[in-house]
């Protein structure tokens, strides 16, 4: 049976790990390579790096981080943040990333998704959808959550599947950094709309939130940052908890 995945995410800025509350108030907390290694040794099913301010800053440091990590961690590594072009994707893959997540560029220029999935295969193209609730719908935000595009999120998710995305990483902007749990409604609506795996993100504060993301949100994988990063829970604890709730995990 296919297992639900737990994916610790490390927000990286200038080669160092940070995790912000609602994308501001950054706090330096360690070396990403060592952190990733701790996670993979602890049973993380994948590792995710998000180069958070990459849209506007020099991002060469991330290539170095990816290269070093891929020589130490032998589980899949996804890298996102500031990925603009086929050339950016190519460079990250050559450094050892297994998947690349595309956010702003997927909205502004959806051809990047179709072209890159043709060139590199859908398996390495993750489209990151940052969505915020507005009335009874969700709208897509870009540029690390700063720009509201007004685009409706669920239709956009379907469009990305059709364009060749292999997975969708769905983040609730309302929940990110709040630790009150995933936006379950958003996750389940997108998951039932598309036939590709959905990774739930944004808002995890305890282990029950991970359970909800899978059981209620129908996510194939759950991504979390702070609950793992500040030592509140280990990946192993999370897996054992999910297992005790009847969710299939790799232990």
């Amino acid at each position: 049976m296919l297992k639900n995945r737990i994916i610790p995410c490390l927000d990286v800025k200038n080669g160092r790990v940070v995790k912000g509350i609602n994308f501001v108030d950054l706090k330096d907390a360690g070396d990403p390579v060592e952190q990733a290694k701790i996670y993979s040794d602890g049973g993380a099913d994948e590792i995710c790096f998000l180069d958070i301010t990459a849209s506007n800053e020099n991002r060469d440091t991330i290539y170095d981080v990816v290269e070093k990590t891929s020589k130490k961690c032998f589980v899949p590594l996804t890298v996102g943040g500031g990925v603009r072009s086929i050339e950016d994707i190519n460079k990250l893959l050559n450094c050892g990333a297994d998947k690349v997540s595309i956010n702003t560029a997927a909205v502004q220029n959806p051809e990047v998704v179709s072209e890159s999935s043709k060139k590199f295969g859908s398996q390495c193209i993750v489209v990151a959808i940052d969505a915020k609730k507005n009335g009874d719908k969700w709208e897509i935000f870009t540029h690390g959550g700063r720009n509201n595009t007004g685009i409706e999120a669920i239709e956009f998710a379907k469009k990305m599947e059709d364009s060749g995305a292999g997975e969708l990483l769905v983040t609730s902007m309302d929940r990110d950094g709040t630790q009150v749990g995933y936006d379950i409604d958003l996750m389940s609506k997108i998951s039932s709309k598309v036939n590709i795996p959905v990774i739930a993100s944004g808002g995890v504060g305890n282990l029950d939130h991970l359970v909800d993301g899978i059981k209620l949100g129908n996510a194939s994988a759950v991504l979390a940052a702070s609950i793992f990063h500040y030592g509140k829970h280990s990946v192993k604890e999370a897996k054992e908890y999910l297992d005790s709730k009847g969710i299939p995990v790799r232990i």
Binding site: S70, F74, C95, K118, Q123
Partner: protein, 208 residues
């Protein structure tokens, strides 16, 4: 010993290179090349493959003499070859991804899309799944049945001769996830991304 990872522009092979180098340490020389002479003089060959069946076959064919060199190595000289993911799928006679495409024809069979049972199963099949070892395979030394491996694919290899199948995994149906036919080995999963247990498979292949 020389192990050659065939670099034929089939997408991202850096993880394959990293994992083989990790296992090889200083004991085994890992070459990454499409140079026909280097391939010929290798002791073992790794054939990775990412993207579609068609794009991988096209990429192999675009390097003059490569397919013949690989066939000579694996079929005539019977030296060990490991195909990973689409590298395994290309052993088939024919694949149906994008369009009908002729494969290498080393192991009779076809590569077709996994039946998602009208959306009940998400595709690609991404993540960790257990392998059910159905016959002894040299690359499964010290690997237990029900070990978890990392998969990412939407198409499956369906060989005609079921005796070549060394393990299957349960996703919609029993999907072939590894084959062994004499000196030819293949895994649908990614040993290079399957943590320590995946590295053990790589080590087993190197120790053949």
């Amino acid at each position: 010993m020389n192990v050659t990872i065939v670099d034929y522009n089939s997408g991202n092979i850096s993880s394959v290179i990293n994992s083989f180098k990790e296992v090889a340490k200083d004991k085994v020389n890992i070459e990454v090349t499409s140079d026909l002479n280097k391939i010929k003089s290798s002791d073992k060959i790794v054939l990775p493959g990412q993207g579609s069946f068609k794009s991988c076959v096209d990429a192999l064919n675009s390097i003059s003499g490569l397919v013949d060199t690989l066939s000579e190595f694996a079929i005539n000289n019977k030296k060990p070859l490991l195909g990973i993911c689409v590298g395994l799928q290309m052993f088939a006679d024919i694949g149906y991804e994008e369009t009908e495409t002729k494969g290498l024809g080393w192991i009779s069979g076809k590569v077709s899309k996994i039946d998602n049972q009208n959306g009940k199963y998400k595709l690609p099949h991404i993540g960790w799944n257990e392998i059910n070892i159905v016959k002894d395979s040299k690359i499964f030394k010290d690997i237990e049945s029900n070990s978890h491996m990392y998969f990412v694919h939407s198409y499956e290899f369906v060989p005609e001769d079921k005796n070549v199948i060394s393990s299957t995994t349960d996703y919609s149906s029993n999907i072939v996830c590894s084959v062994e036919k004499e000196n030819i080995f293949g895994t649908q999963f990614h040993p290079e991304k399957s943590d320590k247990i995946g590295l053990q498979i790589i080590e087993n292949f190197m120790n053949l």
